[in-house]
């Protein structure tokens, strides 16, 4: 029974649109063990949010989804809708970017936190309330007993995000997904929330997927990193490997484009020409080819598969970078 917590195989989520089918997720496979932190990084529109939404069964209604998702050995993709909903509710917690839109503004936070346990585990009102207070304490909200009765607008941005984390934890999930959970926060508060998330994952032995556009957020916290571009994972591996020996040309270029704190002022940034592709297009070949400094003929006609190397470091590139340590 000690298999991986999460196994995703060849997941696709294609969304019909007026401009053609948007291949938001286009053949993603990944695994995550208990107690592990996976960083999922990519720029806007790369499909990272659609990927995690598809994982929890919240893909857009019109989308056609294929592939296999297994959580704790149970195949989500084979479950009927209601069973899947109940299963995900009990086993997976999710934290979103904007706590204000994740919280109901006219319901006291205590009731919102207790709602899921009452629904999924049939707790009484009083028991749910005690549980909510306990959770608020765990996520570092001061004076939890009193704060239960407060409404979301009475909290600061950082505390609101702590409340949504308490909600996500209420059913003791095995898998926690944080989708840009700190993007809306200031850096000093971001740091507190990141510490909280990784600490909780470690203490509870949860699997944690951290989705972010910010390579810095991922670098210091994730055991494994997966880089997404145009609906696919283009590179993945142990975080040190991916950051220290980036093989895919996109990862490599992205790392060079970040203004670094330790670089002298006016350091010329490496530029990635052009812009990310429109996912409604159906051009063959590698999606990064039009922006790639190393593209060859093959890149324009053939889509490179994700190939493993030693140590679980895989990349989808025909002309990989040398992967020099920076």
């Amino acid at each position: 029974m000690k298999g991986p917590l999460l196994v995703v195989e060849d997941l696709r989520c294609h969304i019909p649109s007026a401009r053609g089918t948007v291949r938001a997720v286009d053949g993603v496979s990944l695994t995550l063990a208990r107690g592990q932190v996976l960083g999922l990084v990519g720029e806007s529109g790369c499909g990272k949010s659609t990927l995690v939404r598809t994982l929890v069964g919240a893909a857009p209604a019109r989308a056609s989804v294929s592939g296999a998702i297994t959580v704790s050995g149970a195949s989500l993709t084979d479950m009927p809708y209601e069973a899947r909903r109940a299963f995900v509710g009990r086993h997976v917690g999710m934290v979103f970017q904007d706590p204000m839109s994740a919280l109901n503004p006219v319901v006291p936070v205590g009731r919102q936190i207790g709602e899921a346990v009452r629904h999924h585990h049939g707790l009484s009102r009083a028991a749910a309330r005690a549980r909510a207070a306990d959770l608020l304490e765990q996520v570092g909200v001061p004076d939890p007993g009193r704060r239960l009765r407060h409404y979301p607008h009475q909290f600061s941005g950082g505390l609101r995000q702590r409340i949504t984390i308490a909600m996500a934890l209420s059913c003791d999930p095995e898998l926690l997904i944080a989708d840009e959970a700190t993007t809306a926060l200031d850096v000093t508060v971001q740091r507190q929330i990141l510490d909280l998330l990784t600490g909780l994952a470690r203490d509870r032995g949860m699997g944690l997927i951290m989705v972010s556009h910010d390579l810095g957020v991922i670098a210091g916290r994730a055991d494994e990193t997966a880089v997404m571009y145009a609906g696919r994972i283009v590179e993945r591996g142990p975080t040190r490997e991916v950051f220290g020996r980036a093989r895919h040309r996109y990862t490599d270029a992205l790392l060079g484009a970040i203004p670094r704190l330790d670089a002298p002022p006016h350091t010329r940034l490496r530029v990635i020409p052009g812009a990310p592709p429109d996912l409604a297009g159906t051009a063959p070949g590698c999606a990064f080819a039009p922006r790639c400094p190393a593209r060859g003929e093959r890149c324009e006609s053939e889509s490179p598969p994700l190939q493993g190397e030693s140590g679980g470091h895989a990349h989808a590139c025909f002309h990989p970078a040398e992967g020099e340590t920076t």
């Binding site: 720029e43 806007s44 600061s156 941005g157 950082g158 505390l159 200031d186 850096v187 000093t188 508060v189 971001q190 740091r191 507190q192 990141l194 510490d195 556009h213 910010d214 390579l215 810095g216 957020v217 991922i218 670098a219 210091g220 975080t239 040190r240 950051f243 220290g244 270029a253 992205l254 790392l255 484009a257 970040i258 203004p259 670094r260 704190l261 330790d262 670089a263 002298p264 002022p265 006016h266 350091t267 010329r268 940034l269 490496r270 530029v271 990635i272 020409p273 812009a275 990310p276 922006r291 920076t326």
Partner: protein, 348 residues
């Protein structure tokens, strides 16, 4: 990292921009917020001053008050020797072309119904530049930001990506040949790969035209890359200001230190940073007495609640507003006439 006094450049001319005791208040439900509280700094020609801080610290309001958009409630803004706060509307209109701004969200800054060519021409037309000149200048400005005028001139903003829209916005500013460009979070809404393009572009145009930039951003990495000098703001005040290498290399204010420590570094092998700050920024409606940072400060003492620290020099072109600064260096060479309440020590 180097922290020691950078060789001061000889700078005979007065600064392009000198801001003193700037105050901007807003009436909100529940009271009055002093969003900018006695802020002062100078900006030399062809220099970039980074203005950095977390949301609500007053950095954007400062940038806008400098441009008189809207005018500040108190204080002085001296631009090329002219006191902007005292100018009539007509005189302000005369100066405006020299003071341009690039906003965070280029899409909402560009009128969606107009063609790119007309968008860029708008400023010169309003400024009453000769018609015959305008078309050529517009083409030159577009070319300068890396857009082909023949290709993009007749298109409208929605046909462009966020990065391209920001280029158009920069062209709109450049076409007026400004002396000062205020950049208010110009890359915050852009992806990393596109952000680098826009940063490099701003650096290029600055160098080519000898522009001065007031660069407002919450991103400490970006600010370090573009700035010569940097001012760190907290709850409406400048807590530290100086040469970018000194401030980043040897931060003297505990807030600056914590801010730098909190930046997620894209390096898994980076050493663990110092202890995190507790809590969040207090409400600006009821800022703490004395030093506004004291409620979160690891060094706070009773005096911090009683007395607001003023900026004082801790090095050449490095000032801090803290009773217990992290960098207690003997005041070297900064016996320069400290006759005014100017809260800035630009050594010039």
């Amino acid at each position: 990292m180097t922290s020691e006094p950078p060789t001061p450049l000889p700078r005979p001319e007065p600064p392009l921009l000198r801001v003193e005791n700037l105050v901007k208040r807003f009436r909100v439900p529940g009271g009055v917020i002093e969003a900018v509280s006695r802020v002062g700094f100078t900006l030399g020609r062809a220099q970039t001053l980074g203005l950095v801080g977390e949301s609500g610290c007053g950095k954007s309001t400062t940038g806008r008050a400098v441009l008189q958009l809207p005018p500040p409630d108190a204080g002085s803004v001296r631009f090329r020797g002219e006191e902007l706060t005292a100018l009539s509307r007509r005189d302000m209109r005369r100066v405006r072309p020299s003071l341009q701004i690039v906003w965070q969200d280029p899409r909402s800054a560009l009128n969606p119904g107009r063609r790119v060519r007309d968008l860029v021409a708008e400023g010169p037309v309003i400024a009453g530049r000769p018609r015959a000149e305008i078309a050529g200048r517009v083409d030159a400005a577009l070319a300068e930001v890396g857009l082909n005028p023949a290709e993009v001139g007749d298109r409208r903003p929605h046909e462009f990506s966020g990065g391209q829209c920001q280029r158009i916005a920069i062209a709109r500013a450049l076409v007026l040949e400004p002396d000062l460009l205020v950049c208010d979070e110009p890359v915050a809404s852009l992806d990393v790969s596109v952000q680098a393009q826009v940063i490099n572009l701003l650096q290029d145009v600055k160098a080519r035209h000898g522009l001065s930039l007031l660069f407002i951003s919450h991103d400490l990495g970006v600010v370090r890359n573009v700035s010569d000098r940097v001012a760190v703001m907290y709850l409406g005040r400048i807590v530290e200001i100086g040469d970018v290498d000194s401030v980043y290399g040897a931060p003297a204010h505990p807030y600056t230190r914590a801010l730098l420590d909190a930046v997620p570094v894209p390096d898994p092998l980076a050493p663990p940073p110092g202890p995190p700050l507790k809590g969040e920024v207090p409400s600006p409606l009821r800022p703490p007495s004395g030093c506004r940072f004291r409620t979160r400060c690891p060094l706070a003492q009773p005096v911090c609640a009683e007395q607001a620290p003023d900026l004082r020099p801790v090095g050449d072109d490095h000032q801090v507003a803290c009773h217990f600064s992290l960098k207690e260096s003997p005041v070297s060479r900064s016996s320069a006439p400290s006759r005014t309440a100017v809260q800035d020590g630009g050594p010039r």
